[in-house]
Amino acid sequence: MSVAEANPIPAAAPRVELKSLDTLWFQVGGTVCNLACTHCFVSCSPTNHTHEFLALAEVRRYLDEATRLGVREYYFTGGEPFLNPEMEAILEATLALGPATVLTNGLLLDPARCARLKKLADATDYSLDLRVSMDGYDAESNDPVRGAGTFERILAGVRNLHEAGLNPVITVTEVCREATTDSGKERFFALLRTMGIERPRLKVLPVFQIGAEAERGGAYESWQRLREGDAPAGDWDHLQCSACRMVTDQGVWVCPILVNEPTAKMGETLADTLGAFPLEHPACWTCHVYGVSCRT
């Protein structure tokens, strides 16, 4: 059975081939989160069990397969990864095989955990990166999106990482309009510098108008779709799905964005998912137009 048969698609949607499986994502926190941000494109919340935590044993099985495919880097997201009681053990197993990045909301980064993370980082040959999400450089801009009181708690997490000797990447979505301008970015840098972080790191991501964000900021319109011929020479290498896959507790999805679309599930093992994928979802339009990569 071909992938086309598995995912019947409208004829107009272009298909992206998997060039190489460089980046493997794990939906390690499922869709469970201690926050319920109004712009969460995965609609995570404390009660959202669409995807459950991944167990260490499951992660190991995929890591085995990933090494045979020469995966270059591992990313962990959710939901909130550190709600998963096995998260640190999962990181340790992963860091024996390659570099890892954890996307976190920063709320569970107490000093003891940060010290343990630093230990993990020091014990491996490979890079460990923490990415902490914020949606404003003050409580006034951040808290309406992430929840009351979160700004201070996020900063405390960032400070704990910094004090443990880890320099996180601060991730901001374009819900924060200023983050798209140089002067807005400078405000984030200034905030981090006041915390003693001399080399602040920032990543700005566009919003995907799906999940909770569709309600907050508006859903996609019907013209926001990709069509054959949108990419010059049919080359879709700039899309992360040409080099990534996403593992959840229910199998392997094409990318970290479409985990709440059962149609974007590609198979049970990585070997099942080495074929092409049809870019029929409106979120694909954002990836293409903004050149998005969720990698750091």
Binding site: S43, Y126, S127, N260
Partner: protein, 325 residues
């Protein structure tokens, strides 16, 4: 807490989010279970094997040699280039290879040309040569940080203006990869990686399993590369080697002013001997020349202190942590 934030805290009880719809959990799980491929065990093994299979490559194999010298990233540092050629000869290199990026950063790019030809250096194209030879507007370094881009632009423009058309045309004739036999090992020489001229292979982001697959896909016993500016080597579980030879154009961001190159030799016991070697040169002479040419003081500082002041954004967490800036 606003009303808006209280709603989602309970809204998902027993329900799944399917796109923007709420559906019973079981409905989502069943739809997911029914979607996608489910290959047989045998098909899976075949898919994994096919993925690792080597692609055809008609690059001729040079050698065999018993000892070669390899360096990358000259960055117009003709003083270090003269030094490395002497050092290679002293160490008995039978051939000398350069992995590209002849220009940028340093002064007077034309000065490296006679040294390369007199030294009989066998070179490949880096992203710099590709860009210069094809008249590109930028160096294709792939920086995203505006400050990195600013300095990359300055050095690219300077090199593009001070390079003769003849030199640029010659760069365009260089191969993009070479295969070289050292003893019984066939080594693939590339600039960034075998996949892309501007792919960064850093030590902390090039895990052994990834490199093993890259070697399989390119059917070789070792890969020699540069482009990151930082030297490292990894002996893989299969006994094969990947060596980033570093650059001779600027120091390795470790507070030392020397630069790095590699010697590779055939060995009875373990097949390939790899030595990464520091190289001293007249760095204050280079700094003086750079100032005369009006190059940015940030670059001069790097030459004099051994710490990078630009292009730091490309460094992975581990390499960045060891960095001063």
């Amino acid at each position: 807490m606003s009303e808006k934030l209280i709603a989602p805290l309970t809204v998902h009880r027993g329900l799944a989010t399917w796109g923007e719809k709420l559906v019973p959990l079981a409905a989502f799980r069943q739809a997911a279970a029914e979607t996608g491929l489910r290959l047989t065990q045998r098909e899976r093994e075949a898919a994994l094997r096919a993925y690792r299979k080597a692609t055809a490559d008609s690059t001729p194999v040079e050698g065999p040699y018993s000892r070669i010298a390899v360096f990358g990233g000259v960055y117009s540092n003709h003083l270090a280039l003269a030094e490395v050629l002497e050092e290679a000869a002293r160490r008995g290199a039978e051939a000398i290879y350069c992995l590209g990026d002849l220009g940028a950063f340093g002064p007077s790019p034309e000065k490296v040309r006679p040294l390369l030809s007199h030294g009989g250096v066998l070179a490949i194209q880096g992203n710099y040569e590709e860009s210069l030879a094809s008249g590109r507007e930028d160096c294709n370094c792939g920086y995203t940080d505006p400050r990195d881009n600013h300095f990359a632009e300055i050095s690219y423009r300077y090199t593009a203006q001070s390079c003769s058309p003849g030199f640029k045309a010659w760069m365009g004739t260089l191969p993009r990869r070479r295969r070289v036999r050292v003893g019984n090992r066939e080594l693939l020489l590339v600039h960034g990686s075998p996949r892309r001229v501007n792919e960064f292979l850093f030590h902390s982001t090039s895990p052994a399993p990834f490199l093993e697959v890259l070697l399989d896909q390119n059917r070789c016993d070792g890969i020699l590369c540069t482009h990151t500016g930082l030297h490292w080597q990894r002996r893989l579980p299969s006994g094969r080697d990947v060596v980033n030879v570093g650059v001779i154009g600027r120091p390795a961001n470790d507070g030392n002013t020397h630069v790095w190159f590699a010697m590779l030799e055939a060995r009875e016991k373990d097949g390939l001997g790899v030595e990464l070697l520091p190289l001293r040169y007249d760095h204050s002479g280079l700094a003086a020349e750079m100032r005369r040419e009006g190059l940015p003081e940030e670059f001069v500082e790097t030459v004099l202190t051994g710490w990078w002041t630009t292009c730091l954004e490309i460094l992975p967490a581990r390499e960045r942590a060891a960095s001063r800036f």
